[in-house]
């Protein structure tokens, strides 16, 4: 589904990714862990198409298409979703309106008829149950005045509504209490399906107790330094990241 080959990227002239390789197949959940500044969030932002990052070398294909050649909205329309680490507020636009705009933009790109507000409300009510929310959030402006936890849940609501092929969760667990974490994990697990894949970017192992990954990668200094099974995450939790570094340098 997603194939990243020798990806190099810079921001403000500074190289952040230095030859990253990653392959994600349909049906899989990959966790990407690593210390602060290793390039985890940069990778997530590059996949979504953030204009501040410049890819200087390498290739990314998504479902056989050159992802780097696509605009951010085209990536979303093709089924890629990024749950933001820092979701942005949008003045005056209610959550319901925003979600419908996104769903309809994607449906339009697929040649499907747009949903009217009433049909869409039915879809929304069902998805709200998944994340354990009442509909009071629907009429509040997008992320405006939301608490940190509410913003993260809102990202998951968007994911549930947009039903992406590949979801990238960028530190969705940061700032969540344990109940919110479980809710978020349940929503992600609910979306697991043979034709979908998920990349979970996280600093801590905690989330991976609830979202069981198929593969765990450790990102150090812009490269995948080590990949392994879910036990690798436990080892990182116990030993920290420092022991990885030398091995990466040797490799």
């Amino acid at each position: 589904m997603l194939q990243i080959t020798n990806l190099h990227a810079t921001a403000d002239g500074r190289e952040i990714l230095k030859g990253l390789d990653l392959s994600v197949s349909a049906g899989e959940v990959h966790a990407i862990m690593g210390p602060n500044g290793s390039g985890k969030s940069t990778l997530a932002q590059i996949l979504a198409g953030h204009p501040v990052y410049i890819v200087t070398e390498g290739l990314v294909t998504f479902e056989g298409r050159d992802l780097l050649d696509m605009e951010p909205e085209e990536r979303a329309q093709a089924g890629l979703f990024l749950a933001f680490q820092y979701p942005v507020s949008i003045r005056g636009i209610t959550n319901a309106y925003f979600l419908r705009a996104g769903v309809n933009a994607i449906r339009k790109s697929q040649g499907l008829p747009e949903l009217d507000p009433l049909d869409f409300l039915d879809v929304l009510q069902e998805k709200l149950k998944v994340i354990g929310w009442d509909d009071s959030f629907l009429n509040r402006p997008v992320n405006d005045g939301f608490s940190g936890g509410e913003k993260k849940r809102n990202e998951i609501l968007q994911m549930a509504v947009l039903e992406p092929r590949l979801a990238v969760l960028d530190e969705t667990d940061s700032g969540l209490d344990i109940d919110a974490l479980k809710t978020v994990a349940a929503a992600v697990n609910k979306l697991r399906a043979p034709e979908r894949a998920t990349i979970v970017v996280t600093h801590y192992q905690r989330l991976l107790n609830y979202i069981i990954p198929d593969v765990v990668h450790v990102l150090v200094d812009g490269r995948i330094a080590r990949s392994g099974s879910k036990e690798l995450a436990l080892e990182l939790e116990a030993r920290g990241y420092d022991w990885i570094k030398p091995e990466a340098d040797v490799a």
Partner: protein, 456 residues
Amino acid sequence: MTAGSGTAADQRQGLLDEYHKAIAPSGRKAPAWLAGLREAAIARFADVGFPSTRQEDWRFTSVAPLANLRFSRMHWHPRPQIGREHLGLMLPPGPGAAHAVFVNGRFAPNLSSVGGLPAGVRLGSLADTIQRNGAAGAAIERHLGRHALVDRNPFTALATAFVEDGAFLYVPAGVEVEAPVQLLFLAAPGDGPSASYPRVLIVAERGARVSVVETYAGVEDRAYLTSAVTELVAQDGAQIASCRIQRESELAYHMATSQVYQGPDSSVQTCTVAVGSALSRHDVGAVLGGAGGYLILNGLSVLHGRQHVDHHTTIDHAAPHCESHELFNGILDDHARGVFTGRIIVRPGAQRTDSKQTNNNLLLSEEARADSQPQLEIHADDVKCTHGATLGPLDPAALFYLQTRGIAPHDARDLMTYGFSAQIIGTVPVPELRRQLDRLVRATLDRGARRPRAVP
């Protein structure tokens, strides 16, 4: 100086002559209080004339373009052809709500429908009600010109000198009016630049509740002057929701004052929306005159081309335990310019005042400009007053966020721009009014999208 050379002094003299020829003689038939009000007003205008940008209150708004045109009541269209089709664009669709229509400031009974209101509610012409005297006439005498004072703004003086007719809405104690009342002021210029002086007086007695919309528009795309004054009185515990829509011709000039007086425990929620005129100025003032008053004073302007709007607000906390919230958003495209001055006065003794003021400006082009100045005068110590202003283009982070949800940049920009207006419209407490404003703003934003852009 030759006649019609178009200086501010000529313009002033022309208006003074017109007053003495056309208005003063009719004063002999008017009640003494009204004649006195006009005389005091014209004396004030003769004294100060048009404002200049050397005056602090007019620093960002030059009325020099006004002086180049000899605005006059003489240029009213003699037989304006106004039919229902004109009203359709200005009034919400469907039957029901009471509406009063005024052409060049004068009540047009054949275009109006003022029946169907609860017993005791009066809606109609100021001039008619003054002539008929009675209790309603007494209410007019008590309030007309007593709130919007002529020494605050030369145009208030001018409009008060020329006051002849306008809208009067009176809601007696305890009466609640369900559907919003619509007041529509149409400028119908004839053979030259016309001037009209629409006037509104709204009085809600103790415990009354009413919502009202004032719309100002022109029937033709021409240069004309609308100099309007609205006075709005909410007695003890009364609740007023009021919207003001300024959608004049983009060649027109619109100078207006709205002054609110609030008694104890009253609630006033106002929203002023400006999308029209080449040059417009709206002074909105409110006096919180009794404890427990609640005021929302919001505004929105959506401008393009070389349009200029100046919102000058004054909230006077004259009593303790009052709350005021003020939110003005400006959406400025092309070379448009928005000015916002927000003055908040907390009088000695007005303890426990809670006041919040925000002014946001969205600049859609490099040439658009916004000026924002808060003026806080606080003379009490136990108060909470906050203010803030923002100015800038659409947030690129939000643009990217929307794109990652599948929305193309063009649509994302439209959505965010619309959101900027929806933030204001969403605060309007009456659903019918929200829909009416929403339709107006969507049509206005589309105007910008469809026309060839002046600035690439």
